[in-house]
Assembly symmetry: C2
């Protein structure tokens, strides 16, 4: 937690927040704050700044916050991701939030096991919690939007065309002949398949919709690694 | 496991191997092979190819292997990494192996907790196992070399200069003014600090030794993510 992310419900006054639970525990046991200390904070979807610890008990801390600078720029990326295996899903959410991805669509694919959609990590509260952890790692405040589409065909036919409009449209697929572009730095929609990849039928449908197949070379990467590599190559956001 | 990595001890003849344990379980329960099937295999530090399943029992399988093509090119990278927290360490080993990093030095740093060096994941067998998992994910055979240096100062003074010779020398450090170069594609030595970063003293010593400080932008990344982003920016190995 390189920043404590603050939500509307944390505010008890225009510049006062009260923190309990995970954020309090982190401030106490890892950062070891005392009254009078300042800690980095940011308001969800708002500015970042500092919080001065006014008082600190075992159960809560009150901070006076000054929010005077803007969070890092978001990536101009729409990430369309086949629903990952639950044990990877949490980490992928956190990594996407840390990297600055703001628009995530979780879609179905032949190799997405039905059970993946049953994971409790897909609840709204858990998704927000894991995105929060990713933002707090990165020092960012803008909450990504996550949308769930459990049917491949209606998504591709009815929603994908509008998503691709005005964007470079790509589908990462081993075995295509075009390497991933670098420094694209434009509005981009990127489809990433499940472990084992999209099927030939699915890649065909995505290409029909306007997605260009791209590959990352001979190495087969886990989904989380592939997303990080793709984002790093497509965008110079770090520069 | 996109490839079963074979070691000398698996060979019972010039083109015959017997597999048991993890690799057998994976072939049976995930890939669901039967006698007569062919599966991707590779010999550690050797060629890749296919293994034809000659026989399969509950406890072992015998394969006839044909090893006729070379593994993907290694990255020309020497990665000098502050020893990560044990729960991240395994995954970082796997990710490095998957990405093609072949030369890894684990070093000490002020913010490396002493307990990190006690982890059983540092045993030779566990390191090999996790590197194997990373190579099997990537479809690669060249086993990375991992070296352990538990004292920062003797490493920097006595060993680092020789490691940097003939290489671009970099230290990733938030707050420096130079962004990470892209498409470097040259022999490179890259130092990556622990959670919380190298201390000012440590960065100073690394810079004295010839390392150029580089940053990845305003976002603070977990070590595993940072390594993947750095490798993706420095090398076009995927192209």
């Amino acid at each position: 937690m390189n920043l404590a992310l603050l939500f509307d419900e944390d505010f008890v006054g225009p510049d006062r927040v009260i923190l309990r639970g995970r954020r309090l525990a982190h401030l106490q046991s890892v950062i070891k704050v005392a009254a009078g200390d300042s800690v980095p904070v940011g308001r969800a979807d708002g500015n970042m700044g500092t919080g001065e610890v006014l008082r600190l008990t075992d159960t809560e801390t009150e901070l006076r916050v000054t929010l005077d600078h803007t969070p890092p720029a978001p990536l101009p990326l729409t990430l369309i991701l086949a629903m990952p295996r639950p044990k990877m899903f949490r980490r992928i959410l956190q990594t996407c939030a840390t990297l600055g991805v703001k628009d995530i669509w979780l879609i179905n694919s032949y190799k997405v096991e039905k059970s993946f959609w049953q994971t409790p990590w897909l609840s709204e509260a858990q998704v927000r919690e894991n995105l929060t952890l990713g933002l707090e790692q990165a020092k960012d405040t803008r909450m990504p939007r996550v949308q769930i589409r459990k049917l491949f065909k209606p998504f591709v036919e009815d929603e994908l065309p509008a998503l691709l409009e005005g964007r470079q449209a790509l589908v990462a697929h081993p075995g295509t002949s075009t390497p991933c572009p670098v420094h694209l730095n434009q509005p981009t929609a990127l489809c990433v398949g499940p472990e084992g990849g999209f099927t030939t039928y699915e890649v065909g449908r995505l290409e029909e919709a306007g997605c260009q197949g791209i590959h990352l070379g001979p190495r087969i990467l886990r989904v989380e690694t592939a997303v990080t590599v793709l984002v790093s190559r497509l965008f110079d956001a770090c520069r």
